[in-house]
Amino acid sequence: MSLLSLLAALDDGSTSARAATENALDRAARHADLNALITIAADAARAAGDAADAERARGARGALLGVPFAHKDVFCTRDILSTAGSKMLANFVPPYSATIHDKLQAAGAVLIGKANMDEFAMGSSNEHSHFGAVRNPWDRSRVPGGSSGGSAALVAARVVPFATASDTGGSIRQPAALCGVTGIKPTYGRVSRYGMIAYASSLDQAGVIATSAHDAAIALNVIAGFDPRDPTSVDAPPIDIDGALAMSLAGLRIGRPRQWCGAGIDAGVANAIDAALAVYAAHGARIVDVDLPSSEHAIAAYYVIAPAEASSNLARFDGVRYGHRCANPKDLADLYTRSREEGFGHEVQKRILTGTYVLSAGYYDAYYHRALKVRRLIAEDFARVFNDVDVIAGPTSPSVAFKLGEKLADPVAMYLADINTVSVNLAGLPALSIPCGFSDGLPVGLQLCAPWWQESRLIGAAHAFQQVTDWHRAVPGGAA
């Protein structure tokens, strides 16, 4: 059931929050093989469901009152295990909550559990989780994408109508694409980062995964908004959902970056994207080819900047105040090095080492400093293109979901698969991915990206597409 229809059913009394919660818990159990949840908070969820029903009986109507959801386990939830997919935090029960959790609680949403993810949000396949890989509901031998693989899989399997997620280099959009659901990464600063366990602070942005753009917009407006606890939070007006829903495609200028559709794109993906753009054109949009010439530098800039920030952000995990601490440290150095070696997985260690390297004396200028300049080049590319078009569109991922283990042996190939998503984070722009077809029976995602704060335009463009297509209604075989 979609978020909208569930809200309607709750409003007209044809279902209850408790029933919706039981249904979500039941579906979570039936899809346990996806390994999409690290923690199931069944008792708390039932209590929250009952509380929501009691409130509704008193006439209350919170924006998400009684709607079950899952958090990506990157968000801290008071008194509930919050692991970031890491052994380092396998025992971490924070005494505080992420701001977005407080907002969801205030809106009456019912947390059923914490979704699996790549450790510290580092990965594009959800194979880098201490709690095991997540499986793609469309084909359990394949990855769901990452790092928000658990969130995407849960929504794809219709366990919950929406889930929170985070996106540092594509971690909402790419798993949404690979799982056939809608995922939106808002403008940097729209959603508070407080309580979201940091990967790369200047790139990280929280968002949501749902089954439609309309549903995603409703959930996004709940978690968005100014937060005094986040130094980069911006007091932006909420998304104008009504305006977005009324938006016409007639005259919409859609830029198609040549660099997003170049070599390396699977033919099946390219075909689905072409077909989707044809739908837009058929409804009055103008498709124009545009250039983002600096895209070719984006992967390099991203894999310098993100690990650099991560190497510093993850220095706090030292076994002293919380998290994993090695047994019987013989001295301080042993406490640090062994706790960190034991607590962090291979990919995280590699990124910490890479980040340490690019910041270290003698390499800073050639790598980190230069990458920041490339970042400006990339941001200027987008700004120039947005002088001529309203949104830009292309494949979210160059391929459909790949086999578990297929790319683990070639990490660089895995990094290169992020080619269309990372530049958006480097520039801080809002973007979303919507299902737009299939290739070999696996979903293909269309990425739409808009200028700063133009989420309404993105939602409008995506919603219009979803009004005339059914891709977002397709459900994986075992899910219904």
Binding site: S82, S201, S312, V320
Partner: protein
């Protein structure tokens, strides 16, 4: 050999809350009771900058004549240490908030301006306790996140005496401006000294850094010791190594700090959580308008306009509360500045020191003291009586006039009443009168003494002298 010293002073900014969190900065709390999620570096927490720390830095910068950077950048200094919860210190590196400026010092009769390189905002670390636990060290993070301004001087200080003069002037200034309480025991004003020596004509020698010396006296001793050590080392053919040394006050020596990581690579980079600090002109202008008269200007005014000695003027401008109290005494008494200065510096300060009280804690207010000085100035009290009155007033709450009335201290100046005593003394001592008239001037003091005795000390000696001369001539 010549010594060259550069000082790095960490001044704790006087704020209620920490630089990046809403935890209190009050001193002396239970361990870790004032360390919130942000201070503890809990996952997902974020720093939000305290406006007051920025204002205080601007205020000090204006007083030091520094350039207030229109744009400064917070950077992360990355290193592992148990008292550093996040594994990095948020500081400023390439773009500090204050650039340049200087502090005027006087050593003996020479004046010198100590130029500053820069001053930057940063967070303090926590504190390690090494001897409370058997095999462990204990970490208290209450101090973590306390706002600091690190003030870096150019290497232009040439002796321990100059270093101390510089530190004292800076210490006076930060307290004067309300930038810091300057409490050195509590670590609100800490100093690292970079010391090197060289032969005249040579370029700067290799420096050793002496860490965290927290009293003026120890700074002086530590620098003197270090200069001596380096000279001895070089003269005996050795070489100074660049290192960090710790001053041991008990043994009065500096020692190499072992156990600290040798090869530092702090990997400074702009803090991705904190965008650049951009200061608008209005904020700087507001601080400039609110700036009080500075200690140097006030000292000069006391000398030129009030006619105080350099010594008194310097003493009175050591501390803003003292200086303000002095001016309040002048206002309340209407007496000359010199007389007021004497009372403030000798009696009042003496009594405060003896009671171990600061001027802010004084039981005697400047207004009440002014009332007393007024009675001294108009001749109602002899200096002996005034001291007696002062003691009663310092301990109690009475006004000068109430104390004078209660103790019956009023000086008798009325010539009618005094005339009777003068006549009586003259008639009682005919022999002395004859000797005086024969030219023995010294006997005047004898007659005054007799009259003071008859009046139990209440006669105004100046008035008595005038009357005696009239009658004995």
């Amino acid at each position: 050999m010549l010594a060259t010293i550069g000082l790095e002073v960490h001044v704790q900014l006087q704020t209620h809350s920490k630089i990046f969190s809403g935890a209190a900065t009050a001193y002396g709390a239970e361990p870790n009771a004032q360390a919130c999620a942000v201070d503890l570096g809990m996952p997902g927490t974020l720093p939000v900058m305290n406006a007051e720390a920025v204002r205080l830095a601007i205020r000090l910068g204006l007083a030091l004549g520094s350039t207030i950077a229109p744009r400064s950048v917070f950077a992360r200094k990355n290193y592992f240490y148990p008292d550093l919860p996040k594994g990095y210190q948020i500081s400023q590196f390439e773009a500090p908030i204050l650039i340049g400026g200087g502090v005027d010092i006087r050593v003996g009769d020479t004046e010198k301006r100590i130029a500053l390189t820069r001053a930057h905002l940063e967070e303090d670390a926590g504190k390690s306790v090494h001897d409370a636990f058997h095999r462990d060290s204990g970490i208290d993070l209450n101090r973590a996140g306390t706002p600091l301004l690190e003030i870096v001087s150019e290497p232009v200080i040439e002796s321990a005496t100059e270093a101390v003069a510089y530190l004292k002037a800076l210490h006076t200034l930060v307290r004067w401006l309300g930038v810091s309480d300057g409490n050195m025991q509590e670590g609100s004003f800490r100093c690292d000294a970079n010391v090197s020596v060289r032969r005249p004509g040579e370029s700067l020698g290799t420096r050793a850094e002496i860490k965290n010396v927290n009293s003026f006296r120890f700074v002086e001793k530590a620098i003197d010791y270090e200069i001596e050590r380096q000279i001895r080392l070089i003269e005996s053919g050795g070489k100074v190594v660049q290192e960090t040394r710790l001053y041991d006050a008990q043994r009065d020596e500096t020692r190499s700090m072992r156990g600290k990581e040798s090869a530092h690579d702090y990997r400074y980079f702009p803090d991705p959580d904190l965008p650049p600090l951009v200061l608008d002109a209005a904020l700087i202008a507001a601080e400039r308008d609110a700036l009080p008269e500075l200690p140097d200007a006030r000292r000069q005014r006391y000398q030129s306009a009030l006619g105080l000695t350099a010594y008194d003027a310097t003493q009175l401008t050591q501390d803003r509360a003292l200086s303000e109290a002095f001016e309040a005494v002048i206002a309340a008494s209407g007496a000359p500045a010199k007389l007021c200065a004497n009372w403030v510096l000798s009696e009042w300060q003496g009594a405060l020191n003896a009671a171990n009280l600061s001027i802010e804690q004084s039981p005697l207010s400047a207004a009440r003291l002014g009332g007393l000085v007024a009675r001294v100035h108009d001749g109602s009290l002899s200096s002996k009586m005034a001291k007696q009155a002062f003691e009663a007033m310092f301990a109690g709450t009475e006004s000068a006039d109430d104390v004078i009335a209660r103790l019956g201290l009023k000086q008798v100046s009325d010539s009618g009443a005094l005339g009777a005593h003068v006549d009586a003394v003259i008639s009682e001592h005919p022999a002395q009168v004859a000797q005086f008239r024969a030219g023995n001037e010294k006997l005047l003091a004898f007659f005054v003494g007799q009259i003071m005795k008859r009046t139990q000390g209440q006669a105004n000696p100046a008035q008595v002298t005038v009357l005696l001369r009239e009658r004995l001539q």
